[in-house]
């Protein structure tokens, strides 16, 4: 009988082209590479310089997301790029995809969007596959039981040319989330709570498998939010075993198998779970009942606490510097802190249920005076679906801006950014110094908390608004 294996082991084992030795890493086969404008131009240059082709264009899919404007084109068709360099970079991706025969979802595509939103939407993200992208939030796709991780541009070139990567086998970390999340608490709160527990480097060298009743109860979008932020704990990837929720979400997507082939695929995917008795290198237990609406108070995602809990005192000069940057006071909760900007979007929280969650709080209410709120759908499909439900009208009626799909203020390289000193409540994934603009202060939060904070003008508990509705 075979030794019991983890979900990670099973995916790894089926993708080893050449096994690792003491001297050399494994050669690992990559089923799908996702490409965007920012981390690919230098990789295509290497292929061109060496006279190489893209080995498997059919296993490569490109989109525009990071640096593109989220404001519509002018009447003459000119798009409001932040800089000429941003425009040139997009033109370079278009040229590269033409030259190398790679499918690109450019401005003319109804499927364009953030790379980690469109992969699942198209159904190219499938259980048991290996997926890479020159973007650390590739871990998102682990929600489907795919081994998915971010790589640098040199490796983007390796995969374009050979469909393979040189990899040492990482370690495994199981995060068991038992119990049930309380009402008004969601996946974003949970993952911020987890990172607050294990630390911003708690997953370094590991692939995390999230498991337990609270994980199984999550929707696919919520699972994507959780896996997305695995990298914020330093982990290479996050994984969740595929189940009926996964299969129901994928069925009928454009690129998944159909008919009898679908049944065969599902039967195979059902094997993708950790065997009883399999060993992880580390295990952590979290009780979902302990999770509250959670926000960050410092300058990395591990500095996270319940929004009504007092900000911890700094242990050293480095932590004090983070508190000073955030203008956060030890002993006081983040709740009640004045807000300048609210951003709802990104590969973490830019999907339809995220927008519904924000709209639910905003419906019939107004964004506070002096607060600017941006809502940026994760893809054209999300935008269409949201508009079909009238969510854009809810946002606009509340005084928020409804934008075109893209990474926008998460990475702040397209001109959507905050001013020095402004406090941004953001549904994105990173609160690093300057991430959303030089000197900008980022507080990471769920879509519900972001929307509640927009209405209150200060960091606010969304459960108050949900309770008001129940009372009404």
């Amino acid at each position: 009988m075979n030794a019991p294996r983890t979900l990670f082991d099973k995916i790894w084992d089926t993708h080893v082209v050449v096994a690792e030795t003491a001297d050399t890493p494994a050669i690992l086969y990559i089923d799908l590479q996702l490409v965007h404008e920012v981390t690919s131009p230098q990789a295509f240059d290497v292929l061109r310089a060496q006279g190489l082709k893209v080995r498997r264009p059919g296993r490569t899919l490109a989109t525009l997301d990071h640096s593109i404007p989220t404001m519509p084109a002018a009447a003459d068709g000119e798009r409001p790029y932040a800089t000429p360099a941003a425009k040139a970079q997009v033109a370079q991706l278009e040229a590269n995809c033409r030259e190398f025969g790679v499918e690109l979802h450019s401005w003319d595509s109804a499927e364009r969007g953030i790379v980690h939103v469109i992969g699942p939407e198209l159904g190219v993200t499938q259980p048991g596959t290996t997926i890479v992208c020159g973007d650390s939030h590739t871990s998102t796709h682990g929600a489907f039981g795919a081994l998915a991780f971010g790589i640098g541009t040199t490796e983007v070139g390796h995969v374009l040319a050979t469909q393979c990567l040189l990899q040492r086998k990482p370690k495994t970390l199981a995060i068991h989330v038992d119990g049930e999340l309380p009402a008004g608490v969601g996946a974003k709160d949970l993952i911020l709570h987890v990172i607050g527990r294990i630390g911003v480097n708690g997953g370094t060298g590991h692939v995390i498998e999230y498991r337990g009743a609270a994980i199984e109860a999550l929707s696919m979008e919520a699972r994507m939010t959780v896996c997305n932020m695995s990298i914020e704990a330093g982990a290479r990837a996050g994984l969740i075993a595929p189940d009926d929720t996964t299969f129901a979400w994928l069925q009928g997507r454009p690129r998944v198998p159909r008919g009898a082939a679908w049944d065969v695929a599902v039967a195979n995917w059902r094997e993708l779970k950790t065997d009883a008795g399999a060993r992880y290198d580390r295990e952590v237990h979290i009780d979902a009942r302990d999770v509250k609406p959670t926000v960050t108070y410092g300058t990395h995602p591990g500095m996270a606490i319940a929004l009504d809990a007092p900000v911890p005192a700094a242990h050293d000069a480095i932590e004090q510097r983070a508190l000073d940057y955030m203008q956060a006071a030890a002993g006081k909760p983040m709740q009640g802190t004045p807000v300048d900007v609210v951003f709802v979007g990104s590969c973490t929280n830019g999907r339809l249920p995220d927008l519904r969650e924000a709209a639910h709080v905003l419906r019939g209410r107004r964004v506070a005076k002096n607060v600017r709120m941006l809502v940026v759908p994760g893809s054209e499909a999300v935008r269409r679906d949201a508009e079909a439900e009238g969510l854009h009208e809810v946002f606009r009626a509340a005084g928020a801006e409804w934008r075109m799909p893209g990474c926008s203020m998460c990475i702040a390289m397209n001109g959507d950014m905050a001013q020095p000193g402004q406090l941004v409540v953001s549904t994105s994934n990173r609160n690093f110094e300057g991430r959303q603009g030089k000197g900008a202060r980022t507080v990471l939060a769920s879509p519900a908390t972001a929307a509640a904070s927009a209405v209150a003008g200060v960091i606010a508990d969304p459960r108050v608004y949900l309770a008001e509705e129940q009372a009404a």
Partner: protein, 194 residues
């Protein structure tokens, strides 16, 4: 890649923990389509004042830090984004080695592929290095040791293949292409099974 066998230099220290790749190079500089010239914007928002002049509060702007090729950094250096622009910017800025007690996975991988030595040292040695800015070190890649004045040499771990590639200047893409037959066999095996 050119071989990297030995680096001898004084150290400069950035003691902050969790120096992420956004701090190493802010995202708005990622619209480039080349690898060159990023040293100018390395640590941009930390290094310059708003009028564009050097900020004296940034440790690497200190006169004694100029020309130092070895950067000693606080724990968990290079966390965050996978941008390879971070090691490109550091190399172009003149940094050839980064020493810390923890270095984020993707950054370390990217750095080593570009010949930037990303080296993890033990906690005690890390403390010593943080406490001795400007000390002259010699990093020997072959022997995996760092020689320092007045204390024992520091041994460090280096993944054997990365070490081999550094010493020999091996192009890893060439190594992968050398296995094209195995890749083809793998593909036909998997596609037959499907």
């Amino acid at each position: 890649m050119k071989p990297v066998t030995r680096i001898q230099s004084r150290t400069a220290v950035l003691a902050d923990e969790n120096i992420d790749t956004d701090r190493i190079i802010p995202a708005r500089f990622l619209t480039t389509t080349t690898r060159e010239g990023l040293g100018r914007v390395c640590f941009n928002d930390w290094r310059y004042r708003s009028d564009g002049s050097d900020d004296p509060a940034f440790p690497l702007n200190a006169p004694e830090a100029r020309g130092c090729e070895i950067l000693v950094a606080g724990r968990n250096f290079g966390c965050g984004s996978s941008r390879e622009h971070a090691p490109w910017a550091l190399l172009d800025y003149g940094v050839r080695a980064v020493l810390s007690s923890e270095i984020a996975d993707i950054f370390r991988n990217n750095a080593l592929k570009n010949g930037l030595l990303a080296i993890v040292v033990g906690a005690a040695e890390h403390r010593w290095l943080l406490d001795h800015p400007g000390v002259e070190l010699a990093i020997d890649v072959c022997g995996q040791t760092i020689t320092r004045p007045g204390a024992d040499p520091i041994h460090f771990e280096l993944e054997p293949f990365a070490r081999h590639c550094l010493l020999e200047g091996v192009d890893q893409l060439g190594f992968l292409l050398h296995h094209t037959d195995a890749i083809r066999e793998f593909e036909s095996r998997v596609e037959e099974a499907a």
